[in-house]
Subunit: 139 residues, 3 copies
């Protein structure tokens, strides 16, 4: 049995970390699958899906500082020469984290920890509307 | 058909890399699904699941050195000011790698390479008991 | 319903980024599952699967430069002392990105964005032939 839902999230870009746990849980919980794999996927190549503790320090500062350390915005990116673009760092960060996450559903509930939230990270350099697909396969 | 199992792993924290391949394979192999997706998920926001060659150099030194390079323990983390905590680097490292992995099962076997093991990495700053969920969906 | 396919990709190693979207899409599209999770998995511990915009700047330069920044080829890797090997950086990079990706299939199509391609990254230090498994579970 497969159940698919979609929703959109407005972001500010610039490594904006958005807690989408409730958006995912509502769609996973309202489907008839009680036990199965929940796949969370973001469409696009400058955003990523992962989990974190969604508290302001990590979400608003620490994750941004990490990504700026490993893929600085002002490093040289040939991608930007190709397109006259300014988001080479956004692509690299997104590829490193990845666009997909899977979370088991057991007895109708996502098996996340208490301090573990599902987040969308939008690395692009402008505000975006992101499409997220939630797909559950199970029984 | 969905099959779910859980197991616990005692870790030392501090980027302790634990080979859980046999733990996963035993649970995947004992379920009636012969072909399907095996999802491995760690509960919590300071640990991650990935694969590596589980030999002492990588497990005991190289992965630790990598994570210390990209998210140093003594960098400034606002998370620590929020909670009086000392594990900001653990959260950032865990989010970068991610809590989930999927491995296909074909004819009852995980399709891992010979030198490719499934590992739990516990980034927290103390010993922990981690819960890992193995969920197989297929036929 | 589960459908499994395999294919091989010849790479040059050395962080060679190969667009495998068509290889995956052909196998996903030719299976009877119209809605379900598509798992893409690379066998081996020195390669990874993720998505990116497969344009020459990112594929040929920016991703390589990123991985060289975070896990330099000439850093010290104990793995290399263990085996007399030269690919410690390849293992570390592969573990950081991960060997698996999941993409939802909806109405027979992968839900990738227009500028979002599935790529294999081969971090090993020599040309390799990689085996990729595409497994679809759904209905």
């Amino acid at each position: 049995m497969t159940h698919t839902a979609r929703f959109q999230v407005a972001t500010r870009g610039n490594t904006h970390v958005v807690d989408v746990t409730e958006d995912v849980a509502r769609r996973a919980g309202s489907c008839p699958v009680r036990n199965g794999i929940c796949c969370v996927f973001v469409v696009g190549s400058t955003a990523a899906i992962t989990t974190t503790e969604a508290e302001p320090g990590l979400v608003g500062h620490d994750l941004k500082a990490f990504f700026e350390r490993v893929a600085p915005e002002d490093a040289e990116y040939v991608h930007e020469a190709t397109w006259g673009d300014d988001n080479g760092h956004a692509h690299v960060r997104a590829s490193a984290v990845g666009p997909s996450l899977v979370v088991p559903i057991v007895d109708g509930r996502l098996t996340l920890g208490t301090w573990q939230q599902i987040v969308l990270i939008d690395f692009d350099t402008r505000a975006r509307t992101r499409e997220i697909i939630v797909q559950v396969v199970g029984e």
